[in-house]
Amino acid sequence: MKAVIVGCGRVGAALADRLARTGHDVTILDTSTRAFERLPADFAGQAVRGNGIDEDVLRRAGLAGADVFVALTEGDNRNVLMAQLARETFAVPRVIAKVNDPVRAEAYAALGLATLGRTTILRDAILDYLGEPVDGVRGVQPPTGHDHPLEARPAPESPALATGARPGPATPPGEV
């Protein structure tokens, strides 16, 4: 599968390396080239410097045609914006956003995004280790609802567009 990951912190770097090692096509983005030092020297994927909340940057990183998008920056809102761009503009089938604020995570799960946040993951892992009751150790929280029509739209490159399907966002002139 083809995966695009934004945020080359410890989690992003480890995830990218693991996926690349098992033969997946991986591209990881970060605004800082220094962040790429976390990747091993023999990293088999691609590292691209750029800001993942910029649609053009995501397009250059090959998001159209990706199977998975993971937003792992330190900003909940940035992750939420990128994840929705990935879903709405690039029609990526599986999108995961890190949202550390549990309230926001729940809200966006209801809006159709898969979310994960260290607050609940760590809390539940510790409670579980201590033998305290937990709702069940949860990792990625799958979408819980669709109050909002977050249906996938055809990507600008999609052949569906030529057959009169719902249009994606207008491609700005000069952007292909």
Binding site: N77, V80, P172
Partner: protein, 224 residues
């Protein structure tokens, strides 16, 4: 009218002041404590030191009975989250977002933001009124600068559209060289008919550039 403004930068500050003067009920949310304190000194208790992206902050600001939420921080992602929380969790009738990257406008609209204000787009529009939309693009100089290789973009409305290459009167010293259509380069023959969207690579003497521009791009392209 009850209005919640999120973001106490220059835009949020002046917006709040104007709304208060117009007699509206306004609350301003600003997450940075020093800035919140600074505005509160002047505007009073309507300034709350809260992060408007948090659901709890919007609840404390009374989002449930708000008529409008205006998210005017400098960060597009924060403005989007404020508007989505306002619409989907508090059923605020009208959510307004400031958008800095014009490319985000479409996404915000699709995600249910009612009104999108893009200062970048507005300024861009003002600038584009004053400059020609398309100029000749200089690609290279030849013969010590006497000759130039240029690219002209043919738009709808250009005098060249629908005409054959041989029907276009070119100044002496100009020759049309290659046509790029749908990303494919092809030679320009006398029978080639130009279409909107074509790019023409031409060689011209420097002094003939204006005449060539008139033939390929036209004078009307300078939108005023």
């Amino acid at each position: 009218m009850y209005i919640i403004v999120v973001g106490g930068g220059k835009v949020g500050y002046y917006l709040t002041k104007e709304l208060l003067q117009a007699g509206h009920e306004v609350v301003l949310l600003e997450k940075h404590p020093p800035r919140a304190a600074q505005i509160a000194d002047e505007l009073g208790s309507i300034v709350l030191n809260l992060d408007g992206c948090e659901g709890q902050s919007l609840a404390r600001a009374g989002a449930k009975r708000a008529d409008i939420v205006a998210a005017v921080t400098g960060d597009d992602e924060d403005n989007l989250v404020v508007c989505q929380m306002a619409k989907h969790h508090f059923s605020v009738p009208r959510a307004i977002a400031r958008v800095n990257n014009p490319k985000n406008e479409e996404l915000f609209r699709h995600l249910g933001v009612d009104e999108i204000i893009s200062p970048t787009r507005t300024i861009l529009g003002a600038i584009e009124q004053d400059i020609p939309v398309h100029e000749l693009l200089h690609l290279a100089e030849l013969e010590g600068g006497d000759l130039e290789v240029i690219e002209a973009q043919i738009e709808a409305g250009s005098p060249a559209v629908g005409r054959r290459s041989r029907e276009i009167t070119l100044p002496d010293g100009c020759s049309l060289f290659i046509l790029i259509r749908d990303e494919v380069a092809q030679p320009i023959r006398p029978e080639t008919i130009f279409q909107a969207g074509d790019k023409v690579i031409a060689i011209t003497r420097t002094e003939c550039e204006a005449a060539l521009r008139e033939e390929l791009i036209g004078t009307a392209a300078t939108a005023r």
